[in-house]
Symmetry: D2
Subunit: 269 residues, 4 copies
């Protein structure tokens, strides 16, 4: 399926403000970017670089005054979310090297304190995919969704105690519980089709049965239509906009996802 | 300056044909891609990967029948080509690790056989930028430009003996002569504004005075307006389309470069 | 100066136990490993891989029973610790790409909660090296050193509240305070000559004035004689032994550092 | 099996001479380095770096006068060389990204000119391993081994015409023939147990049946006991010593390989 995703961000800076943006989807095994457009106003030099997770960042220094970034991409993604009930737990010694870094605790995924709880949640499950699914379901049921506010990020343990959160917190809880069982789990930020209300979204992936599978504890069902912007150990790694200097909140942040039939605006000549 | 660059390629395959394409410009220190569009017909799965030079490749398997790829990008590039007469030779021990691989001979840059000639060409030059400039000028004057044919690639030494070639050969000669003097040199393939007749182009970069500078032995003057598609040790590393299986020549290959004022087609909302 | 460093670790496993070890020093800009020896008992297959920080890990699966690893290296390191009072703060936009990941909070360095405290500590300092030095001194004075116990790791904020810790916690506090001021800071684990009592040690590096400098809040003075085993965002990234499965504490852990004059045991033939 | 390998190299320099050395074996999937020792005389700063093939290089600048480097390693390697008759050709579209760079021609492997010959050599073979074996056998039989001289490197095509060469040339011929059939092939330099006369050796690996297999056209039989120093597209990528400046030949080059039973000189304490 083809999705046209877009994000517009506006801010007003008092002083020159260096920024790191993570707003350009990149083609990978899950998605193919057939067209994109990345505009900043006013015009200014932008440099792109790839971080150690493979994410593509835009570095720029916004001058004082009004700042706007507008990004739009046409992306092909799978029409269904891959599922694999029964896919087995992968022994540590059999994990690919690149998955190992997703086993350790991170800023908001304090897996080192959740081993007992995780054990209770997955009791009776076949080790692997089914455990992650149980964790996802538990998280979905345990946490209430905060619609009206976007509080500062908290750790998985704090979110579990508070019993509510936003998609970011749901994902941190799922990830931390997986890691406490030695299942590699990573944070994903991106777009989700038909999200209500529309916004950027976060979910997670777990490595079981020899590959990464997506899980979304915020959602009741494993819906497809996902465009990835970045991967990390948790939200600290992948802020879609990371602004340095005096804190400035966006005056406008608009996200759109639209299913399209023809990926490219023009008919081929 | 903003350039709208485009390439259309059409072929007819008798059998399923795996291909590697190097047709998507990537943002880097020299260029910012504000918009791009990459379309293949018929639609088929495409995977992108980055090679060890940092080039972005598209992998696909074209089905039998008509195949077409159409790429277009709006790219911001410097309005003048950076020059640095007098920039010094960098001692081997002071070269960055990443430049070292551009010192050794490669398929078409047989620098191991050109030391004496290079010494004659640069006699009397200040070591560094001025040597590369002398090499570039010598190459431009020594080789005749082949307009009507595109022969199979030959090595720098062969091109020097044959005394003519296309932009690819001019670049190989320049690179091989530089390397024989222990100046790192790399091959660049991309677009050049106002090239006559319009086509994809090749030039080279040499590392002197602490950074990479562009040199173009095909051209009489160091003209700007360059969009890079890829870097390599020579043309063997960066075929813009690499087709496996029975040889099929493109039935149509169309390249365009147009200077534009407004990078993005639409006015921002 | 030449140091002969060594570490011996013994454990008893009830079950087959996959492990990740970070015990082989690697040559880099700070140190040259002239000789090393890495022995495990009983013999078993070992695979080495490099993680995204550039650390060299040994992967193995220990069989049930007695396990022993014994590592020894002769390493050349600088005789004095480089210092640079007055070295300036590097603007975010001027940081190298690779330093950016050391700006964000991590598991034990909750820099997102320490901005105000950091501001107080560095009040009046020239931005850059002098700020890091003030943070290092403040940490050294604020925290008591725990000699008799090695508690579970806690975050920088928790350590500040508890007012004591081990070298790991001192480093986390220093790192978190630096990051809250937008100074990249990373955790280092390794050996320190003449440490009393001898053990593996942790300190940190901060990026100011265009390069990384070492700071050690555990120590009263900036002493030299340091051999690095690994770098990370905090201790969660670089456990020198990471054992999976039922928790087993080492029955013996012995660390040695000895200054030597002749790096190589034998006279060259 | 455990091998103790060693290399001693002596040279006399008139002037300060920057060098790149590739003399430290590194642990990987094929070998485990349990102990090593790397000594240079006189003592001088050495920096190690990893190139794009994963090779570990030592960079140094030798002062005028006598220079000596002495390296010794104890390495565990498989006791038999893995073989896989019948292992199938891997379709281009199924090759891992990292294998693709070993398909293109390189300095001494002019595969672009050997397609017809390769086709004749492998006529009737099952595509894949058996083709590479036929190429290896053909190369072994077609080329005479030059024992008394070490001529300047020549290309595969030149070696085929000359009908003789050293291990380097045998490998180039094997590699070039494989690549002309779209089989990824890479050059390996290292040690071979019981080589007569003892010296550094070169062979190649081809990617068939989903993994890399070793082939050695210089040898009549696929003997084991191989320690790798480096991988590349051909000999141009992996000179074990790469000396810049006025050419100086080693006054002494001594290579040793010895099978040992106890990997570590000392009994563990």
């Amino acid at each position: 399926m083809w999705l046209r995703v877009g994000c517009t961000l506006e801010m007003s800076f008092q002083v020159e403000s260096p920024m790191l943006l993570l707003l350009r989807p990149r083609s990978d095994a899950h998605q193919w970017v057939a067209q994109d457009r990345y505009a900043v106003f006013p015009g200014m030099p932008i440099i792109e670089y790839t971080d150690m997770y493979g994410n593509l960042w835009q570095r720029l220094t916004a001058p004082p005054g009004h700042f706007k970034v507008e990004v739009r991409s046409d992306v092909q993604v799978p029409a269904t979310l891959e599922q694999a009930p029964g896919a087995p737990f992968v022994l540590i010694q059999d994990l690919p090297d690149q998955a190992l870094m997703y086993l350790t605790p991170s800023r908001y995924c304090d897996s080192d304190r959740l081993g007992r709880l995780a054990g209770e949640i997955v009791a009776g499950c076949i080790p692997g995919y089914d455990q992650v699914e149980a964790i996802t379901r538990w998280t979905h049921e345990h946490l209430g969704y905060l619609t009206d506010s976007d509080p500062a990020p908290i750790s998985a343990l704090e979110a579990i105690e508070r019993r509510n959160g936003v998609c970011r917190d749901f994902s941190h809880v799922g990830i931390a519980l997986c890691r406490s069982l030695s299942i590699p789990a990573r944070y994903v930020v991106g777009y989700l089709n038909q999200l209500e209300p529309m916004d950027l979204h976060a979910w997670f992936e777990a490595f079981v049965g020899g590959q990464w599978y997506s899980f979304d504890p915020t959602r009741a069902r494993p819906d497809a239509g996902r465009v990835r912007l970045g991967y990390g150990r948790d939200a600290a790694d992948v802020p879609v906009f990371n602004q340095f200097g005096p804190l400035v909140l966006p005056s406008r942040m608009e996200v759109s996802v639209e299913q399209i039939t023809v990926p490219i605006g023009e008919t081929p000549s």
